[in-house]
């Protein structure tokens, strides 16, 4: 017995835990893990640093290879999660420190950022938005349009309540005056909350590659070079424009190019691996574009097509049959013409010749990068990363959801790039592993 320990105060309430599981990140992996564990009867706390749960998937247009509408698939899961009696969700919450105690409990401190809107009182009527005088680039539309300083993140956000972007707020108070349910509260402050949990699931997802670092592609300089995520928004039913338009002048594009492997399989940007989803999402977007703009030519410049999953190769062949023009060869550089059109220079591998083609809209199929900031949160035991900065899976084939810390599990793209079905499976595996661990506990 270590009776002489002077933190006996903490120890005395060590038996009382607030939750069985803390799930960090409420994208589809976090939601799925949380739901499965909650269904098994465990108490789950799900924290999310964004104002809405749903991760990246909720922002997508449709999903490959079934072309289901992404919102139709995520929103039921999102509301199921939000409604589950065993799940507590905190948005705008970020883990600050996680310390594993001797009794195997994790002492978790997280920061709850103020929303400046009382979450339970807001009815989502958007009256505040109409009176707010300040606009900011809308990060949920990937900067294609603006939003107000007080805003509901997006239409299908959950919780569908407003928040104030205080950095960009003019403190005019118009929203407060207008709000019919009196839910705006500028006195909210950042809070630090400390809880104890028995286990942790890291489901922090991935970061999107920022193509600004590839100067040859001119992203950020050329208006009509956009990322695939921006195209994803343009194709979504809750899109920023009234149709698929190019950002330089609102023209309906008719020669669209996709540049595969932007930020993937590329040592020069420090990411040598394949992002696993770009070939297919680009193929999907090509199919959607051919539907939306029947007259448009779509060219997809690729190195290898990674159409490996169930139904993927068939989906790729279908896109080809529909008329998508797949060109083997990576784009070397892009230059802009006066009218906003872009000249793409590449080697056509089939002929072995340098070729130049003009397009009026270029989509960069950006890759996925590891999102490893979470490791800083673990204070006394190290959450190890692999060589590619993804969360290390020490027992990859036998127990893929375990990490270097006992009691901490990992789900989804925090371990490696993967598509939605693989993410759901990985999250299921994490739930299974966590449940087994918690059963041993008692």
């Amino acid at each position: 017995m270590e009776a002489t320990n002077n933190d006996s105060m903490n120890r005395s309430n060590a038996g009382t835990t607030d939750y069985d599981v803390l799930v960090i990140g409420a994208g589809i992996a976090g939601e799925e893990s949380a739901l499965k564990l909650a269904d098994m009867g465990f108490k789950v706390l799900l924290i999310e640093k964004e104002p809405s749960i749903g991760g990246k998937m909720i922002l997508l247009s449709k999903v490959f290879p079934t072309l289901d509408c992404a919102a139709c698939i995520t929103t039921p899961k999102v509301s199921e999660t939000a409604r589950h009696p065993n799940i507590t969700i905190l948005t705008l919450a970020e883990a600050e420190s996680i310390v594993k105690e001797e009794n195997n409990l994790f002492s978790v401190t997280f920061k709850k950022h103020p929303r400046y809107v009382v979450e339970n009182d807001c009815t989502g009527c958007q009256e505040c938005e109409t009176v707010c005088p300040m606009v900011v680039k809308d990060q949920f539309q990937f900067n294609l349009v603006a939003r107000k300083a007080i805003y509901i993140p997006f239409n299908i956000a959950n919780p569908r309540v407003a928040l104030i972007d205080i950095e960009n707020c003019t403190l005019c108070g118009a929203c407060e005056q207008k709000c019919p349910s009196n839910c705006i509260d500028f006195t909210q402050k950042e809070e630090l909350v400390n809880i104890k949990v028995k286990s942790v699931i890291v489901a922090t997802g991935f970061k999107l590659f920022d193509p600004i670092s590839i100067e040859r592609y001119g992203y950020g300089r050329y208006k009509n070079v956009i990322t695939s995520m921006q195209m994803e928004r343009e194709l979504a039913p809750t899109r920023p424009f009234n149709s698929v338009l190019r950002p330089s002048d609102g023209k309906v594009p008719d020669k669209i190019a996709y540049i595969f492997c932007t930020g993937s399989r590329d040592h020069t940007v420090g990411n040598p691996i394949c992002s696993q989803v770009c070939c297919m999402y680009s193929t999907k977007q090509a199919q959607l574009l051919m539907g939306a703009l029947p007259m448009a030519d779509i060219s997809l410049y690729y190195i290898n097509i990674r159409a490996f999953g169930k139904g993927f190769n068939e989906f790729y062949m279908q896109a080809k049959d529909m008329g998508a023009n797949y060109v083997k060869g990576k784009i070397g550089s892009i230059s802009e013409k006066e009218n906003g059109n872009l000249i793409l220079r590449y080697e056509d591998i089939v002929t072995g010749k340098v070729t130049e083609k003009e397009h009026d809209l270029v989509v960069l199929s950006v890759g996925l990068l590891a999102n490893h900031e979470i490791t800083k949160v673990f204070k006394n035991e190290k959450l190890e990363l692999d060589a590619l900065k993804y969360i290390k899976q020490p027992d990859l084939l036998q127990s893929p959801a375990t990490t270097s810390i006992k009691g901490v599990f990992v789900a989804g793209t925090a371990t490696s790039p993967m598509d939605i079905p693989d993410t759901i499976m990985s999250a299921g595996a994490a739930a299974s592993e966590t449940s087994g661990y918690l059963n041993q506990w008692s």
Binding site: P272, A307, N313, A401, N439
Partner: protein, 569 residues
């Protein structure tokens, strides 16, 4: 129609509704509707104070049903069902009317119209409430026992995961030995583990757990029942064992594609072998790579054999694991033997994700990659006792290149295992690619349309070991979450059959995607009956009944037609 006491609440939603819809007019219009016992308006129906008021109203007035006209049901049906429950009223006697999203907001350009519409919508809600029935969720006992079919690495992993979560497992393997294909594998890619080690580790974990019973040489011969309560007969060696299980996890794995006679010289030339054969050769050779007494210096790998076939072949799909497996084999060759050159005749390398690093490693080792398309596949010829492989190389601008090869390795894909007996016993649907089909790739990737029958691993689609493990554990988590309480609550929104009207034509059973309609006897006649454990409440069976003997709870003829009548006013 029985007389009911209905409470009606019309919500202002701050001004969201009342700015466009004239609440007073609505109240005025519906106050004389039959069954309306109490009629109120409220600023925020969902607020705590309003909810308390409703509970009190229900209790003091002994209301039979309530109607709240406010926002979309998606938001607050659970809220007000909770109110009903707290007040001691059946939650299914609650009706929500959407006069915001489909009322005030949709018609904010036309307040008069919005009001007119709101009146009819509320009337329809009242009509529906009047016909509403108290429904109770029934509970059925469910055995927290799962039969895992197939004791490959995936099946064993499912079993271990289930056992650790407290589910009892019968692990049923057709063969004498466990571990499937992997038990015979040497080095596995992206780890330093050996296949036989992985399989042995899993087996020892299986044996450690008392709540796993492993049957080898075993097969299911009979199956009855539904989720939570299946009765099966398992033939083990020569005995037949009756078992009671709550669900199945089918993890029956794959077969390696067997090339046809003459496909790339297979079966005709002795030095044309398949990748699994080649892997064994690597494992069994030391120092020098010897095949048929001859030292191997050049190995030609031909990719996509049995995968990504054109219209003449059956397998249109990509087998997912083979590019990496072949490259991994070539890297092993380079590690183990000196001076062997690997030549990869591929159709575009698909080392997705982190597996790309293996491709890079092999390239840096000096492996040569040549790419062809399906309309010009590599030619394998024999000249003077030597084997030559010739191809039009896409990467060399279509130039024809040729090499001598000591050994030709056909990189064969995965095909679904012949399992039609099991598939028909468990009614597992099969997809276009002949693999077992999940109900929804993203929402429910390990479930089939048959409740209680889950699929995992490569019987669903080609997968590598990591992916197989993930899906095996995901299936375990899913089914454990259903069975763990020992009982299952069934949603009361189910189809109901009126046996006196039923003449059993079988059309409903045909329409049901969930195998939820069974035969039973009623008054000496065969009639249809809903197996409530399987019914999902979609109602697909209802319109096909020629005698209109089926109704969906909550959506009965009386309710829907009551609403139609009210809306038509």
């Amino acid at each position: 129609m029985t007389k009911k006491k209905i409470g009606v609440y019309v919500c202002h939603c701050g001004g969201n509704i009342s700015d466009y819809v004239d609440i007073e007019k609505v109240k005025e219009a519906v106050k004389d509707e039959a069954n309306v016992y109490l009629l109120k308006n409220t600023l925020f129906a969902c607020s705590d104070s309003s909810q308390k008021e409703m509970v009190a109203d229900i209790q003091t007035n002994e209301l039979d049903a309530i109607v709240v006209a406010s926002c979309s049901p998606k938001l607050h049906v659970p809220t007000f069902r909770g109110v009903a429950q707290r007040a001691g009223m059946n939650p299914y006697n609650y009706v929500q009317v959407n006069i915001r999203e489909q009322g005030s907001w949709a018609h904010s350009d036309n307040p008069k119209g919005a009001t007119e519409k709101a009146i009819l919508l509320v009337k329809a809600g009242i009509a529906r409430a009047a016909e509403s029935e108290a429904l109770t969720s029934s509970k059925i006992p469910a055995a927290n026992v799962v039969a895992v079919i197939g004791a490959g690495v995936g099946g064993m992993r499912s079993a271990i995961a289930l056992a650790d979560m407290g589910t009892e497992v019968y692990l049923i393997e057709k063969e004498k030995n466990v571990g499937g294909h992997v038990a015979n594998f040497g080095s596995l890619f992206t780890t330093d583990k050996m296949g036989y080690e992985l399989s042995a580790n899993l087996l020892s974990e299986v044996k450690k757990r008392e709540n796993i019973k492993l049957f080898t040489n075993a097969e299911i011969v009979e199956k009855k029942g539904s989720i939570g309560n299946f009765d099966i007969q398992v033939k083990v060696d020569n005995d037949v064992l009756p078992l009671h299980v709550g669900a199945f996890v089918v993890n029956t794995g794959f077969d390696s594609y067997q090339p046809q006679q003459g496909e790339y010289g297979f079966g005709e030339q002795t030095n044309v072998i398949t990748l699994p054969e080649f892997k064994k050769l690597i494992d069994n050779s030391s120092e020098r790579l010897i095949f048929n007494g001859k030292a191997i210096k050049k190995v030609a790998y031909i990719y996509c054999v049995g995968s990504r076939q054109n219209d003449e072949g059956d397998n249109k799909y990509c087998s997912r694991y083979c590019c990496t497996a072949a490259i991994h084999a070539s890297v092993q060759v380079n590690k183990k033997f000196k001076d062997v050159t690997n030549l990869h005749f591929n159709r575009g390398i698909r080392t997705y994700g982190k597996q790309e690093l293996l491709y890079e490693e092999s390239s840096k080792n000096g492996d040569i990659y040549l790419q062809f398309s399906l309309d010009s596949i590599p030619e394998i010829t024999q000249k003077g006792g030597k084997t030559f492989v010739k191809v039009k190389d896409i990467l060399s601008a279509g130039k024809e290149v040729e090499t001598e090869a000591d050994l030709v390795v056909l990189v064969t894909g995965m095909v679904p295992r012949e399992n039609s007996k099991l598939a028909s016993q468990l009614k597992i649907p099969v997809g276009r690619d002949n693999f077992f089909n999940e109900i929804h790739m993203k929402l429910r990737p390990v479930e089939t349309v048959i409740d209680g029958v889950l699929i995992a691993g490569t019987c669903q689609s080609p997968k590598n070991i990591l992916e197989t493990m993930n899906s095996s554990m995901a299936a375990a988590a899913k089914i454990n979450s259903v069975l763990t309480k020992g009982e299952m609550t069934l949603d009361p929104t189910l189809a109901k059959i009126n046996p006196s009207q039923c003449t059993w034509c079988g059309k409903c059973a045909e329409a049901c995607p969930f195998d939820a309609i069974i035969q039973t006897e009623f008054d000496g006649r065969i009639v249809a009956k809903i197996n409530e454990a399987n019914c999902k409440g979609c109602g697909m069976c209802t319109p096909v009944c020629p005698t209109d003997a089926i109704d969906l709870a909550g959506f009965t003829n009386a309710q829907i037609e009551g609403m139609i009548d009210a809306l038509a006013e």
